[in-house]
């Protein structure tokens, strides 16, 4: 069973549970506040997931570490490579053939 099928089965299960409780085909008559909480519940889960994604992105952005030494070394290596290529006769190695 692929991951997609697993996810779809899980979603179908949750959707069926929600529909059974919300559309009330069995006539269970939950108390009114519970019904009011239940109706927007899928939208609530989506918004909660969106908030979690945004928070994760923001946190990783804030705690991402720059590597100054590695960046300088990389620039130096790029310069050396360019000089080496132009020495061997492959001029204009940085252009795209315009």
């Amino acid at each position: 069973m692929t991951k997609l099928v697993q996810w779809l089965c899980g979603l179908a299960l949750l959707g069926t549970a929600w529909a059974t409780l919300a559309l009330d085909p069995l006539g269970l008559h939950l108390p009114l506040p519970c019904q009011q909480v239940l109706w927007p519940f899928p939208v609530y889960l989506l918004v909660a997931f969106g908030c979690y994604s945004l928070a994760t992105i923001g946190y990783r952005l804030a705690t991402f570490n720059d590597c100054e030494a590695a960046a300088k070394e990389l620039q130096e290596q790029i310069r050396e490579a360019r000089a080496d290529l132009s020495r061997r006769g492959l001029n204009r190695s940085g252009e795209q053939g315009r």
């Binding site: 009011q36 939208v43 989506l46 918004v47 909660a48 908030c51 923001g58 991402f64």
Partner: protein
């Protein structure tokens, strides 16, 4: 360490999403259990908006992503025949 701007934007995003989550949780889950004559209800919109606003925001997001993709693909189109 990330730059100061990155840290500001990052933690700003975290604070914003936390605020949004708390507001939305109170709106959806806690308010129905509070009596309707309590003063807290005047800080929250009528309940219908708790579904329509996220749905419309989601549709707008999809619209923007689609428009962005169209613009990028339009800029990168190459002419069909060669130039020589």
């Amino acid at each position: 360490m990330a730059t100061a701007m990155d840290q500001l934007v990052g933690f700003g995003l975290v604070a914003f999403s936390l605020l949004l989550f708390v507001y939305y949780t109170i709106w959806i889950i806690i308010l129905p259990f509070i009596d309707s004559d309590h003063g807290i209800h005047k800080f929250f919109l009528p309940r219908e908006y708790s579904v329509t606003i996220p749905v419309i925001a989601g549709l707008l997001l999809v619209l923007f992503v689609g428009v962005f993709i169209v613009i990028v693909m339009w800029k990168n189109r190459k002419p069909a025949k060669k130039s020589d």
